[in-house]
């Protein structure tokens, strides 16, 4: 049916134009428009959370029912969700309790002492993965790979304080800043230039893509077919 496509496209077009125009209009009406749109986003996001929660729980329930590989982990999802919901409703800031402002609740304890350390644990894997990725992929196969390797070594070494000791060892007292300066030069010039180049391309690409979305040429975000 025509209106299933046309009305969303119209909404996108009008909202996009207003969003674009708002950047060039100092009138207070532009500020009010931005505030209302931001509030609307937050409200819609709140509703969308229900969709996500349903999807998540349904998927894990199916895995448990069908005893798919790793279904025990899905059990943990329900356990964790149930515990935190209970803590939040009864021992947190939920409707059944009234903690004083600043009071540490059981829900907060759960967040601080379970979720946060788990997040930190996963994040800490990054150090190990970086080392193994560097070991595996930094090979002098050709000139550009050699350049990448050289730059990586200079920057990695120059960023840590121990490079000053090495600099002093190799070049004397005046040589303490050799490696940090080399690292900074690489970061300030070729790295920044490349970043700016990518940023310019990305910005222009973003404008072109936005135009395609605005004028309805690109419609994938609406889901479904053309």
């Amino acid at each position: 049916m025509w209106y299933k496509r046309t009305i969303p496209l119209l909404i996108v077009f009008v909202a996009g134009l207003l969003g674009f125009a708002h950047e060039y209009v100092p009138h207070p009406i532009a500020g009010r428009f931005r505030e209302e749109v931001t509030t609307a986003f937050r409200i819609i996001g709140g509703f969308a959370l229900f969709i996500g929660a349903y999807s998540l729980l349904h998927m894990h329930l199916t895995r448990i029912r069908r005893r798919q590989p790793g279904w025990a982990y899905s059990g943990f999802v329900f356990l964790g969700a149930s515990v935190m919901i209970f803590l939040g409703m009864v021992l947190g800031t939920g409707p059944l309790v009234d903690p004083a402002p600043g009071e540490l609740t059981a829900f907060q304890w759960g967040y601080d002492n379970v979720l946060v350390p788990c997040n930190a644990t996963i994040f800490s894997l990054l150090a190990f993965f970086m080392a193994s990725a560097a070991f595996r992929t930094f090979r002098v196969r050709n000139f550009s790979a050699a350049l990448l390797l050289g730059a990586a070594v200079v920057v990695m070494f120059g960023r840590v304080p121990i490079s000053e000791l090495f600099g002093e060892l190799l070049f004397g007292a005046d040589g303490r800043q050799v490696f940090p300066k080399a690292s900074q030069i690489l970061m300030d010039y070729p790295n920044l230039a490349a970043k700016r180049g990518i940023l310019l391309g990305v910005s222009l690409g973003a404008i072109a893509q936005s135009l395609r979305v605005l004028f309805g040429i690109e419609r994938s975000y609406m889901g479904g077919g053309d």
Partner: protein, 294 residues
């Protein structure tokens, strides 16, 4: 890369050895308590330090801790160091956060800095008088714009429920325009939002603390003067702690997590460099003897 199984098995062994070596490189310096304190801070860290150091006593400084526990490792030491510096200089830090999941973390940072500073400087620090922790309010950019008009209206009470209207820590601060310096410590786009919707509109000076991976993105802002000083990553925190220590040479040991982490970071970086060079040496040797392709 799509890797053949035999190669995968070989790499798996090498990977486990590497993991053990990295763990050792990080843990041993902490256990052995080997700290390096003679390195030179970066110029932009020094700029931020000097800016704070040269403020008059009782100047209010807004510090926005816009990160969640995921970025705690790099950014918490910065927050603590800057707050300790503020207390050392008898400034009045006003702390807030734009991350609902970072409210408690920000509170922890404030309380840690207060506890350490009370010991260091021998004076009691009271919330609402010597500092203020405002907590979180929703609104994002709109909150910053509201603070630019009426800060106390945007935060009617602080995190502990005390009204801000007559709070001694906020005397003379009606809006962001009354602040000389705002520092944002973040791992997100908030660092730029504070420039666009804060510093450029309301005229305060702006310093930033970001994760190491975001540091280079801030260089254009440093060059243009929109950011007057920058701390990037754990190194930035270490630089700030070192500068703080140097202001009280021989008196108190202000070794924070930044300096503590530098030796581990040095060891890990050197280890990675050695491993990479060793792997390449092996690669070049094998290629030279015809046993390696490519």
């Amino acid at each position: 890369m799509a890797i053949p199984q035999a190669e995968l098995r070989r790499l798996a062994i090498a990977k486990h050895v590497i993991f053990v070596l990295v763990a050792a490189a990080v843990i041993v310096p902490f256990v052995a308590k080997v700290y390096q304190r003679d390195f030179k801070p970066t110029s932009y860290a020094e700029d931020l330090f000097q800016k704070v150091h040269n403020l008059d006593a009782n100047t209010r400084v807004l510090i926005s801790l816009d990160f969640d526990p995921g970025s705690e490792a790099e950014l918490l030491p910065m927050g603590v160091a800057i707050l300790r510096h503020c207390f050392q200089q008898r400034l009045i830090p006003v702390v807030m956060t734009n991350y609902p999941s970072g409210v408690d973390l920000a509170r922890t940072i404030v309380e840690e800095a207060v506890a350490k500073s009370e010991v260091d400087y021998g004076r009691k620090l009271t919330s609402g008088r010597d500092y203020a922790y405002l907590g979180f309010r929703p609104g994002g950019v709109n909150l910053v714009l509201n603070m630019g008009e009426n800060l106390k209206g945007a935060f009617q009470t602080d995190y502990y429920g005390k009204p801000t209207e007559d709070m001694p820590a906020l005397v003379g601060v009606q809006s962001l325009k009354d602040l000389k310096l705002v520092i944002d410590i973040t791992s997100s786009a908030w660092v730029e939002l504070w420039i666009v919707y804060g510093a450029d509109r309301f005229g305060f000076e702006y310093g930033a603390g970001v994760t190491a991976v975001m540091g280079p993105d801030m260089y254009p802002f440093l060059q243009s003067g929109q950011v007057i000083g920058l701390l990037d990553g754990l190194r930035g925190a270490a630089d700030y702690e070192l500068l703080l220590q140097r202001t009280e040479v021989g008196k108190l040991d202000k070794t924070g997590r930044g300096i503590l982490g530098m030796t581990a970071q040095s060891a890990a970086h050197v280890l990675v460099i050695v491993l990479v060079l060793a792997a390449n040496a092996r690669f070049i040797f094998r290629r030279a003897t015809g046993r390696e392709k490519g």
